[in-house]
Every structure is written in structure tokens, then in C-alpha cells.
Subunit: 311 residues, 3 copies
């Protein structure tokens, strides 16, 4: 049977097998080539996407909305779902899912609580895509990261990838490491002790064929890695401001450090950045983070089209 994602919810990156991941990558590449050549797509003409953001994330929301519009579709948007929606009146996400099913052909949800996307999906007959649920998952970010690595390096297998920063709370690195663990990858996990990758995640990853080197030393990792994936120390995930202030500047990459890295090393970041990457790094050829953000559009186009059967 041909691989298909029609009718599927995209909640956890682990729910996609390698064939399905490949289908997303190939569809994204196909859409991207149309856009690059100033072509027009009308796959989603007449269809409506609902974006429900219970937590601010301009980048993720605009990326999905642009993706839908570039496919010829339309968008209804709840940018401040927490305060302005039925949520304030006590509606469950299950019931919100029933609403969304009536009004749209596909939905994206961002929510501060783990499991929220799944609850919405249980209510909705229309496919639901998880745009990030608390410290849980951010599967579309992982897919666009993979797409970026493929484009930048021309391959996935055999690479050494350093994940740097808040590995404890960062759903981005949780989803990405789970996805990359299906391939032949060497990992560096670079974090201060207080923000180390949770041991249950590391344990799960070690069951696959990946190699993991844990170290707080960015310089050591950067000298050996093909890809350095920086992340922001997320203020909003800390209960204690003093702890945030102690750790926020743990890793700051600047141009002077780039003399000691592996030739052609690629720098990625899910953005927004604060001080993790100095502006003088932007001119470095391997600085891929803005290209990475742009890749969000074709990858999300692929997901929207695939789950609605309009690829």
C-alpha cells in the first residue's frame, strides 16, 4: 500500500515511521521548488485552516498561516486563545475539537500543557497538527529541522550533531533527537547540569543505534560536530528568576569561536535567539538558522496538504 498521511493527526514525532517522514520531506521539496520558481499552488483552494494558539508563538503561527495561503487555502485564527476563547468559559479541548471540526478542514494547536494537542484531536474529526504542547513535543519543528539538515549537508546518516542549551525543557530538542535517532547519528548533548537532557529521554535514545556524548563543553563539541544546534534558555520555563539569570548566558556563540570548528560546520537555531548567537555569526556561510526558519513554510505546506489528502 502506498504511504499516506491522509486523515492523520500529527501529535508526536514518534507516530511517523520513516516512510512517512520521507513522504513529508519529498512533498516539501516538491512544493519548495514550485515556490522558488515563482509558481502558484492551489492544492488547498476552498479549504480552511484553523490556528489555535493558547501560548504566543508568532513564528510558528505565521509559518503555518503562510503555508496554508501559499497552497491557495484560507485561515481562521485565534492568536490569543487563552483569554479570548471559550477556554475562559471553561470549555474542554475535546469540545473545542468538535467546534473546530465544524469550521475548518485542518487545525494547528499550540498550548502550554502537555497532551493538549491529543485532547483536541480526540474531539475533532478534522486532522489536528501539534504546534507545540508545553515541554512535550513540537513535531513540525523537528521535521523542518530534518529538512534543513538534508538540504545543508546533503545527507543525514553519518552526521555528528550537537544539541546545545536547555535540553531539559526544550521540546524542540526532545522532538528532534527522537527523530534523528532513527538515523545513524552521533550526538553531543551540551548543557549545564541543571538543564541536562532528561535521563528517561537519553535512555530511550540509547535503545536505538545512536551514540551520545554528554558534556557541558561547547568548544569541544563544536570542534567535532557537523551540525551545532543552539537553543534559547527559555525564561518562561523557569520558576526561579535567579536560576534563569545564572544559566541564561551558558552558551554564547560568536564569530571568534568559529575558527576552531569543523570545516563547513552548520549552525542551526529554532529562533527567536537572544544572546546564544551573536549577530557577527550571521555572515558565516554555515549560519543556517534564517534558512531553517524559511524551511518551515514548505514543510508545513507538505503537512497541511498530506493530512487533508491534497498533496
Amino acid at each position: 500500500m502506498a504511504t499516506t498521511l491522509k486523515g492523520r493527526d500529527i501529535i508526536r514525532i514518534q507516530d511517523l515511521n520513516l516512510d512517512e517522514v520521507g513522504l513529508v520531506m519529498d512533498t516539501a521539496a516538491r512544493f519548495e521548488s514550485v515556490l522558488v520558481n515563482d509558481g502558484r499552488l492551489t492544492n488547498m483552494s476552498g479549504k480552511v485552516l484553523a490556528t489555535l494558539f493558547y501560548e504566543p508563538s508568532t513564528r510558528t503561527r505565521l509559518s503555518f498561516e503562510t503555508a496554508m495561503l501559499r497552497l491557495g487555502g484560507q485561515v481562521v485564527s485565534v492568536a490569543e486563545a487563552k483569554s479570548s476563547s471559550s477556554a475562559a468559559k471553561g470549555e474542554t479541548l475535546y469540545d473545542t475539537g468538535k467546534m473546530i471540526e465544524s469550521y475548518s478542514d485542518v487545525a494547528v494547536i499550540r498550548h502550554p500543557v502537555v497532551g493538549s494537542a491529543q485532547e483536541l484531536a480526540e474531539g475533532s474529526g478534522a486532522p489536528v497538527i501539534n504546534g507545540g504542547d508545553g515541554a512535550g513535543q513540537h513535531p513540525t519543528q523537528a521535521l523542518l529541522d530534518l529538512f534543513t539538515i538534508r538540504k545543508e549537508k546533503g545527507k543525514i546518516d553519518g552526521l555528528t550533531v550537537a544539541l546545545v542549551g536547555d535540553l531539559k525543557n526544550g521540546r524542540t530538542v526532545h522532538s528532534l533527537s527522537a527523530l534523528l535517532s532513527r538515523y545513524k547519528i552521533r550526538f553531543y548533548f551540551v548543557a549545564p547540569d541543571a538543564l541536562a537532557m532528561p535521563s528517561e529521554i537519553s535512555a530511550e535514545l540509547r535503545k536505538s543505534k545512536v551514540e551520545i556524548i554528554e558534556t557541558p563543553d561547547l568548544a569541544k563539541a563544536a570542534a567535532d560536530a557537523d551540525v551545532v544546534y543552539m537553543t534559547r534558555i527559555q525564561k518562561e520555563r523557569f520558576d526561579d528568576p535567579a536560576e534563569y539569570n545564572r544559566l541564561k548566558s551558558s552558551y554564547e556563540l560568536n564569530a571568534s569561536q568559529l575558527t576552531k570548528v569543523k570545516n563547513g560546520m552548520t549552525i542551526m537555531h529554532p529562533l527567536p535567539r537572544v544572546t546564544e548567537i551573536a549577530k557577527d555569526v550571521d555572515a558565516y556561510k554555515g549560519a543556517a538558522y534564517f534558512r531553517q526558519a524559511a524551511n518551515g513554510v514548505p514543510v508545513r505546506m507538505a503537512l497541511l496538504a498530506l493530512v487533508t489528502g491534497n498533496e
Copy 2:
């Protein structure tokens, strides 16, 4: 002269005569059959709807916006009109109406103050639709409720309809009872004393041919009614939290109570629900509230098309 709503504002349900209500119902049914058969409508192509929400109501806003998009039209949206608009600078709704007239072909307003929709309409040369003004009116909800009853029961005349919950503050039941009073209807008004239907509304209804039975006993009404219309006790309408807490659980329908209702009884609710209807009721065949919400799209499509002359 043929019945038409072109150029009309939809402010109070009483402003529509029965021919006009019939026109809305028939147009909604026609649009719905196109959507159900995966057809496309382009009636509003090139037209712009403005949605101005001075009070949060995700369901009403998304329902109108989806309706406009399903007609091939476009939307400009002010989801947080209270804080983010000219309102904060002291602009009158009359002047806002002048603005809206310049920017859109039709507007929907939701506002916490009775009479606001009328004030906007006086300023705007483009048709204005009332999406709920305080404890005043919610005419489009009444129309979609009527559409739902017609679909669920196959008729309106001769039905016994129980309205349950906060009948004092609920604009939904005010508009719906006014609309149903044009037909041959028996009403149960089921409410605690403190939340009884205002006597001036009851008196007005009694002038028509309807029969009204007022009781605080939901079981009694449910045993006799063809349609039980549950409503939420609206926290935001109470000044005193203690009073809200005393009354909020007055009526809670669950599956065990459904053994004692009239065969085929239909359950409706404008949503969002909190505890008025337990989740175990969802599986009951007559549980029509999610279908009712979905009916908001074709009914609002009909209104948007009719008032702009694009039906």
C-alpha cells in the same frame, strides 16, 4: 414584491418577518447542500467581511469568518476590539461604523453593551449583523437554532420546547423565544427563581399564540418536551461570585436521566458547555448540540450573502 434582505442590518430577531426568516432558512439549506457535496461557492468573491469583537466569542467569530471564506470572500478581523482599537482612544461606534463602511462590504459586531450593534449600524452604510450585544439580542444564534430544530424534527409548529438555565441573562433564549413565538409552540421555562425569564419578556410572548409553563423542575419538563434547550449559567453576568456558585449547578443533564425523557427528544445547547451536559450524553442520538454548532456556518453564509445581495 419578492422577499429580499439586501442592504438590511440584522440587529433584532423581531425585525425579520416570517417570509424573511423563511428566506434565510431556505438559502442556508441550499448552501449547506453545496458544501455537503464538496461543492464550491464563490458568491462573495472579491468581498470583505469585517468582524469586530469587543467581547471574546471564538465560536461566533470563527463561525462567521468560516462562513465568509466558504462563500469565496475574505475577512478582516478585530478579535480584541476593546483594547486594541480606536475604542481605547474614545471613538464612538457611530464613527467606527463610518470606518467599517470604507473598509468592508458587511460587518459583524459583538459587544457587551445592549444597543451597540444598532449604533454601529447607524454609522455604517454597509450592512451590520449583530453577533450578540450584552444581555440584549443574538439574532443569528436564534436563526441557527431554528434551522437546527427544523432539521432535527422536520417541523416547528406543534413542538414543545423547554428552555433551561439562566433565562434572566441569556440573550440566546431571549432571541430564540421571540423567534419561536411566531410559531405554534408550547414552552417550558425551566430556571431557578433568581434566574427566571424576565416578566416583560414572558408578557410579550403571551401576546402571541404560545403556551408557557414556568417551572424549576427539569425532570418534569424533559419528560414532556420535544426539544430541551440547555444553557450555561454565565459566570461573566454575575456581580456576586457567591450567587454564581449557588446557582451554577442548578441543571446538569447526564445519561441516566435520558431514560425518562420523551422518545426522540432533541437536546440543544449554544455552547460552550461547562457542567450542564455530561460528556456521557454525547453518545445519545438526540444530542444535537455539536450539529447545532455546525449549522452556524450555513445560516451565517445565508445572512452574509442575503444582506449584501449575493445569494
Copy 3:
């Protein structure tokens, strides 16, 4: 070489030469005539506008969004950019510009801080239009004001224009006076001492061929002016509420004063108005402020189409 604005950012009104201003005027007039005749434009079909509002301005935002939709384009919108965006996480506008470049073909920014539009434009490869930056500039308002004067009076050269109200903080009058100073204009600057036009702006204007009469006397100016441009005393620009209360009612135009004005005098206002113009003035033939607001759509259509090369 033919005049073009393709690829240009619109940040300061001074950046446009008179040929470029003329191109905007002519393109706006052409688009307007299509709309007036119920025609359809598809110049921006398949293109996406991003509106980023870090400060509320419903009128400016909706005007730009309607303009884009009337050109057949699409919109992604951040109505509450300050709280809901990457800004809260500490992202620079330069980085936001990089994001916007990936997601849209053109962007409009409104921001409370002078220079913000320029910073966004430095990051973005897509054209950026300044929708108002603090007490700085509001170039598109100046262009729609010029368009309005041309339509109302049939000419620009030779007119006497009174600018009235908060000339100190009003970016609208700063941009408009700079634009009009390219023509043969006599100015009245009518303001209380505390809100007088900044001397550096007056000095700059005097370098051109304009004549400037500064007076706190509205009656005197109105008796002589062809155009009276009223502005709101902007509460949000005052640190001291007492000072605002002292000055807020400095100039209030009502119908009884219109007996002493020049025959055919035109009244303009960028809106929203509070008490500067009484409602009884609305019926006066020269009351152009609502027509002026409507002119925002064709002028912004022209700008969007010109900077993206889709005129």
C-alpha cells in the same frame, strides 16, 4: 529611466521624490476607479502581506489589510505584536525582519519607538512599509492626506492649510507638513504653546518655499484656510494626566463656527476623533474626514502594489 518603487521600503516621507509621490497618487487614482466601478483587481494574487502591530491601530491595520485583499492578495496578521510575539522573548526587530522575509512578500509595521520600521527593514529582504513609529513618521497617512486634498480641492499648489492641535507629538502632521512643503503652500500652525510644532521641524520647513504662520487662534486660521486639518490631543503621548486634561479641549470645532470660515473650506482629521470635531459638523459639505479615511484603501493598494512590482 521610468519612475519605480519596486523593492523600496517606505520609511520616511522625505525618502520619496516628487515623481515617486506622483506615481503613488496616479496609481491610487487608477485603482480607485476600478473599485468604484465594481471591478476586480488581482495584481497581488498569490502574494502575502504581513501586518505587525506593536501598538494598537485598528484603522491603519484594517486599511492595509483591506487594501491587500482588494488587490487579490492575502494577509497574515499580528495585531498584538508586543505581547504575543517573539518580542516578548527578546528578539530584535532585525531578526523579526529575517522571519518576515521568509513568510511574506511585503510587510507593514506599527511600533511605539522611533526608528523601529527602519530596523525591521534592515533585516527584511522583502519591502517594509512604516505604519507609524512613535512620534516619528507616518508616511502612508501623509500620502492619503495629499490624495484627499487633491481630490477635494483639485490642486495642491496655492492652498492655505491649517494644521491644528497637538503639533508637538503628532507624527501625522510631521509627515504631512514635510510632504506639503514640496509644494507652494501657506501653513497655519495652530497649537497651544505647550504643543507647538517643534522648532527644528519648523526650521527645516522654512528652508523650502512655504510660508508659516504660527498662532494659537483657530478662528483666525479657519477664516483664511482652504483646508483645516484637525488632530486629536493624544492622551497616550502625555506623561502627566493633569497636563493632558488642561489641553485636551484646546480646539473643538462645531457647526456654529462654520459660518465664519472661507467658502468651501475642507475639514480633515486622521481619526479617531474625540471632541475635536462635533458630530453636527458631519453634515457640512466640506467635512472630508470620512472620505479621507476611505482614501486610505486605494493609496495603500498603490503602495503595496508598487513596492512589490505588481502595479
